[in-house]
Amino acid sequence: MAADDDASLISAARAGDTVALDRLLRRHYDRVLAVCRRVTGHDADAADAAQEALMAIVRGLDRFDGRSSFGTWVYRIATNASLDELRRRRRRPLLAGGQPDAPGTEPVDATAANRLDAIDARSELDAALAGLAEEFRVAVVLRDVGDLDYAEIAEVLGVPLGTVKSRIARGRALLGAALSGNSDASDQRPRSAP
């Protein structure tokens, strides 16, 4: 039985094994999409960013040298694809409202009451994330969605460890305040450079 770990799939993919590449991409797609969704705040933009990320993974696969884990490398690509999508969105004409996706665009719980609660929770989270400065949002998403450690995030973002800790701390504080109902929390900006 062929080995199914990332390293084996990467080697096979580099050798032209499309099946191996397919398996590798499917394995990591969900985490890519999760990062893209939380950074961009839009289902459609997240899907676009995720596709761009997969294509960037393919283009860069033979240059992946294993210094970091493949998952960390994938997160870096997903993060940059998401930020690229945000930049493209800023240059597009604003659609009605320019707000995060409307409620009900994601599958929710079966019962109506739970469905409404789930919709409200997701909308509230999307709005709270959208209120964060990009640098804080990305750091918090990588930590609390991607479950990367500080060093991995520093590598993904190309910033010092201290900067990562600061951004996560501020991002969490602002996000938590927004979710807790402190209405002016999302307007706060760092009192010192992260």
Partner: protein, 277 residues
């Protein structure tokens, strides 16, 4: 929530870092005890935990059509740009390029040997050595034609960099980029110019730094490749600042109005954009 219950208000960086570290469970026992003695810190811990829980528990629904479409697009890209995995074993530094060169020379040598064998056979029949290619000639012809062919495909993105950066560690691995990685691929004299560092752009800040470095007129920084003359991705040659890499892949940096843009020279997909420094 009233202001006096907002732990974030007037929270110092140190307090925020302490609370965040507490949430991540990275404090020592002494540090944890200190944190637990501060109502402000613990209030922040509670808020941060709320944020973390909300993020971690909010699932992102995967649309299987989008997923399958994205993977199909990536596989199509893979098929259109097959990689020679053997030739790209990373041995470090310029040895990656040496391995590529040796592979190509071996291929050329094998082809030349075959031609020589055939040529000898033909010559013995027609009693003429005019058609018999000497091994070295075939070798050089093969190599020259290969260089020319690859140089054409590779010139759009990396000629300016590669004219000075033949031995770059992070030389992009696409077929097009192999051209300028060949010895003297962009230099008729055959001499290897001094290697230039190839910056790997990851952020807008990297992009601006790259542009500043080029503007400062570092040696060999001026784009002199075919890209500078012919333009690429809809940008005139005069708009081309230079070549770099983006996440390890090829990138071409161009001016776009009052902004600078890093593009994938193969797909023209925008990688980064920033206000010109």
């Amino acid at each position: 929530m009233t202001d006096d219950l907002d732990p974030l208000r007037d929270a110092s960086d140190a307090v925020l870092l302490q609370a965040s570290a507490y949430v991540d469970g990275v404090l020592t026992a002494v540090e944890r005890a200190t944190a637990e003695g501060s109502p402000q810190v613990m209030a922040l811990v509670a808020q941060m935990t709320t944020a973390r829980t909300a993020l971690a528990s909010a699932s992102v629904a995967v649309d299987s059509r989008h997923r399958d479409g994205a993977i199909a697009a990536a596989l199509a890209l893979h098929r259109s740009h097959p990689v020679d995995a053997d030739a790209r074993m990373r041995t470090g530094g310029g040895r990656v390029l040496e391995l590529r060169r040796s592979r190509r020379w071996l291929g050329s040598l094998a082809a030349a040997a075959l031609v020589a064998v055939v040529g000898i056979g033909v010559a013995s029949l027609v009693a003429s050595d005019g058609d018999e290619p000497a091994t070295s000639d075939s070798f050089s012809i093969e190599a020259a034609s290969a260089s020319t062919q690859l140089a054409d495909t590779g010139a759009t993105s990396d000629g300016d960099q590669r004219s000075g950066g033949v031995d770059e560690i992070n030389a992009p691995a696409s077929i097009a980029d192999d051209a300028t990685a060949q010895p003297g691929g962009g230099d008729p004299s055959g001499a290897l110019p001094a290697a230039l560092p190839t910056p790997d752009l990851a952020t807008e800040s990297d992009l601006r730094d790259f542009v500043r470095a080029r503007a400062a007129g570092s040696p060999g920084s001026v784009a002199t490749s075919a890209a500078a003359d012919s333009g690429v991705c809809g940008y005139d040659g005069a708009d081309v600042i230079g070549s770099a890499t983006y996440l390890g892949g090829p990138s071409l940096v161009v001016v776009d109005g009052d902004e600078v843009v890093a593009l994938d020279p193969e797909t023209c997909v925008e990688q980064l954009r920033a206000h010109a420094p």
